[in-house]
């Protein structure tokens, strides 16, 4: 049974995320490091786990925690609040929550799992998998990575996964694969023999969240860690849905953070005998930035449901990711411009927001590829 939260409880959650962001995350953003003190991140995430914001097998109330399934808006709100301070850290909350939410969806209860951190391995190329066969109920393969029978009858995994977003020290991977005509999923410990993990460094932004390639060379699968059946297709769609909305929420948070910082700077910086907030050129930038963020928020703040995944809801999520990341990218760029040369330097944090939001736009389906999907999947009309 899904748990319903009252408005007070939701506000309490938001307040908790706000406090955590301002106390722990802000201190992580040591200006000496362009992307924060990444070495301190595991400790901060541990703190978040104790606070209840980071969802895992034990904590079902954090970002995308399964007890929040009736309230996707709460997870989105928490991500936005965290991303106002650091997009990369918010991405860690998002990815871990996503993985445990999908695990719970596939095999309830996941609390029997011993892993504290899990990442979803979905992509095999620079764009998202062809999920038409699931939507249209055909048998066209979705993945190239396959489950095969070994000589001794055991199940083996063969292939490669790219652009896997994970936490530092990630312990397991939920890998989507092809099992004959059907998609399947397998939970692999990070130290599985035959699995090579290649970190993808360096990158433009979101440095707090790791990106990895997985090379799977006949990785032995334990029978109880393979998920088969219709639920896997549904889990795949759910993964994309949550992924796109979470990324959108993080983009909005980064945009909000950038706008606040620009507004503050504009009220303090003197130029031409007055603070620059009085200059029409800066006013135009600030209002343009705000307009884009408000539009993005309006798109994000819809009545989302995790329990009825179909073409239309997926299409709507893809449209939201496409539009929101574009709007927020422009918003952050405009906010950065208010700083002049200082916006380009690492000290003010604006260039980090710029890099982070551009990374969000490009990842898990850039606007160009999402446009193709949206068109391909057809509309409500």
């Amino acid at each position: 049974m899904e748990i319903q939260l009252s408005q007070e409880e939701i506000s309490e959650f938001a307040g908790l995320a706000g406090k955590f962001a301002q106390s722990s995350l802000r201190s992580y953003l040591n200006p000496e490091f362009s992307d924060g003190e990444i070495e301190r991140l595991p400790q901060i995430l541990e703190e978040a786990r104790k606070t209840g914001l980071l969802a895992d097998a034990e904590n079902s109330y954090g970002v995308w925690g399964f007890d929040l399934n009736a309230h996707p808006d709460v997870s989105l709100k928490l991500l936005t609040i965290l991303a106002e301070v650091c997009g990369g850290a918010a991405m860690c909350f998002h990815q871990n929550g996503l993985a445990f939410n999908i695990l719970h969806f596939l095999s309830s209860p996941p609390s029997e799992l011993s892993f504290r951190t899990v990442a979803v391995a979905l992509q095999e190329s620079h764009t998202i998998p062809h999920v038409e066969s699931i939507l249209k109920n055909t048998s066209a393969p979705v993945f190239e990575t396959q489950v095969v029978r070994g000589e001794n009858g055991q199940w083996l995994l063969r292939g490669a996964k790219r652009f896997v977003y994970s936490l530092p020290g990630n312990e397991a991977y939920l890998v989507f694969v092809q099992d004959g005509d059907e998609p399947a999923a397998a939970l692999l410990p990070a130290d599985s023999p035959g699995m090579k993990i290649k970190p993808l460094e360096p990158r433009l932004g979101l440095a707090a969240c790791r990106v990895e390639y997985l090379i799977l060379e006949d990785v032995l699968l334990e029978e109880n860690r393979i998920f088969r059946g219709k639920e896997v297709g549904a889990a795949l769609l759910r993964t994309l849905f949550i992924q796109w909305l979470g990324i959108s929420a993080i983009a909005v948070g980064i945009g909000r953070g950038a706008l606040k910082a620009a507004g503050k700077y504009a009220g303090e910086r003197y130029q031409g005998g007055t603070t620059i907030e009085n200059h029409p050129a800066v006013q135009r930038l600030l209002s343009g930035s705000e307009e884009n963020i408000v539009s993005a928020e309006a798109q994000l703040n819809q009545k989302w449901r995790l329990d009825a995944m179909d073409t239309n809801s997926l299409r709507k999520a893809a449209t939201t990711k496409r539009s929101v990341t574009r709007l927020c990218t422009q918003a952050v760029s405009d906010a950065l411009q208010c700083f002049g040369g200082y916006g380009y330097m690492e000290d003010y944090g604006m260039e980090k927001r710029f890099r982070d939001v551009h990374t969000l736009k490009a990842m898990v389906g850039s606007p160009f590829y999402l446009q193709r999907l949206i068109h391909h999947w057809g509309g409500e009309a």
């Binding site: 040369g341 330097m345 710029f354 590829y369």
Partner: protein
């Protein structure tokens, strides 16, 4: 069907025309780069081809490392290579430089903007590293003071042929006056701290300049300072040698992009500058500074076009090499449309840069409009490149995200694009309004 399509393609279809008709069809399979190059003067063609060759041979192999580990990049050795090939000497003809005189008399900066685009195609930061030198020289050239040409430019030119060329930089920005010193109204109220005080045989300079490109590396810097307690209209340009007592380099900024070139703070503490190092006239600095910007802004436009062209070329390569389903990306029509848009935007921006530079004197409105259009367009092209490359785009070794980071600075320096829009209005509006009412 396929055969018919082949026959209908222009080169084949044109074979059915008469001789003159065939001749009037231009279906030669040439790159746009080659077509554009053929439009140039002999000197322009020469420098563009040389710069392309230099860029691919020397900049391309080091571009990634120079960005990632810029502190370890041997910038001096790189500058020497460029200087020996004449790439630091194109702002003046002989005996002050190596620009071709005939081409120069038609356009002062054309030869410079040609190499600017080529360098930045491989690395915006290395492009800046080499081109900032011209910004440092520009006040001397634009001062119109022939003795200064003899005194300062000839030694520069002679040294450029040696193993240790003199590198120049340009310093106007101050901690509390960035955009202020790049437009008229801001200038009137600018909070400037760098001052020059008269003393026997010269001036004592005190103050700070910030964000000075190549400030740490340059040997000499053209520094602008107000006289005593006077206002900005007393601004005077001084040629400051790094070896002068009281000169030091302070903080080096940590920039998002264009990292091979440093952006440093310059500290001046009772630096004695002899009278002979005054560039132009006393109190002539403000006009000189504004005019330097008129010549440098189109070059920024050319640099931005180069950075975006680099992103475009990498994306084109990616689209040829990458499959989506059973087809290469480039075989999809929507990908082709996107690439065509990028191509068109780049061509338009380059055309504007070239058009605005086809005069001996650089015009404020044309320079500002060019900088705004070219840099905004280049940013848009880089965004499209990121879009087409999806997740691959944000990997640092790929070069596309670097182009995005690099190009973003071109919308900020040499006056933000907002300031440049106002510069266009300032210069052009009265004439346009009067012209429209005639």
């Amino acid at each position: 069907m396929d055969e018919l399509v082949e026959r209908l393609k222009m080169p084949n279809a044109a074979q059915r025309m008469n001789t003159l008709g065939r001749w009037l069809v231009d279906a030669e399979p040439l790159t746009i780069w080659e077509r554009d190059t053929r439009l140039l003067s002999r000197a322009g063609r020469k420098w563009r081809r040389r710069a392309l060759e230099f860029s691919r041979r020397f900049i391309r192999p080091v571009a990634v490392e120079a960005d990632l580990h810029h502190h370890e990049f041997d910038r001096r050795a790189f500058i020497n290579k460029a200087a020996k090939r004449g790439f630091l000497s194109l702002l003046m003809p002989a005996p002050f430089g190596r620009a071709n005189l005939r081409a120069y008399l038609r356009s002062t900066i054309f030869q410079v903007i040609l190499i600017a685009e080529e360098f930045c195609t491989e690395s915006g930061g290395i492009g800046l590293l080499l081109l900032v030198h011209y910004l440092g020289i520009a006040p001397i050239l634009l001062s119109g003071h022939f003795p200064s040409y003899i005194r300062h430019l000839i030694p520069l030119q002679l040294k450029s042929m040696t193993d240790n060329p003199t590198l120049m930089a340009f310093a106007i920005t101050e901690p509390s006056a960035g955009s202020d010193v790049e437009e008229t109204e801001g200038g009137a109220t600018a909070r400037l701290v760098t001052t020059a005080k008269k003393t026997t045989g010269g001036y004592l300079l005190n103050g700070r300049k910030v964000f000075i490109s190549n400030g740490q590396l340059a040997d000499k810097i053209t520094v602008f300072a107000k006289l005593g307690g006077e206002a900005l209209d007393s601004w005077t340009c001084f040629l400051v040698d790094k070896k002068m007592d009281g000169f030091s380099v302070g903080r080096q900024e940590r920039k998002m992009g264009q990292r091979p070139s440093d952006a440093s703070e310059i500290i001046l503490e009772d630096v004695f500058v002899p009278n002979k190092n005054i560039i132009g006239k006393l109190r002539g600095g403000w006009a000189l500074n504004r005019n330097v910007l008129n010549y440098s802004r189109p070059a920024i436009g050319a640099m931005a076009v180069g950075m975006a062209r680099g992103a475009f070329e990498k994306t084109l390569h990616f689209c040829r090499e990458t499959f989506l389903g059973d087809k290469r990306l480039i075989d999809y029509q929507d990908v082709q449309l996107e690439l065509a848009d990028m191509f068109t935007q780049l061509w338009a921006a380059r055309s504007m840069v070239w058009h605005s530079c086809r005069t001996l004197r650089s015009n404020q409105a044309a320079a500002a409009a060019t900088k705004v259009f070219a840099t905004d367009t280049a940013y848009a092209v880089c965004n499209k490149a990121m879009d087409l490359m999806g997740d691959h785009s944000y990997i640092r070794t790929g070069g596309v995200e670097r182009a995005l980071r690099d190009v973003r600075l071109t919308q900020i320096y040499e006056g933000t694009n907002q300031i440049n829009r106002l510069a266009l209005i300032e210069q052009q509006w009265e004439a346009e309004i009067e012209g429209s009412e005639e």
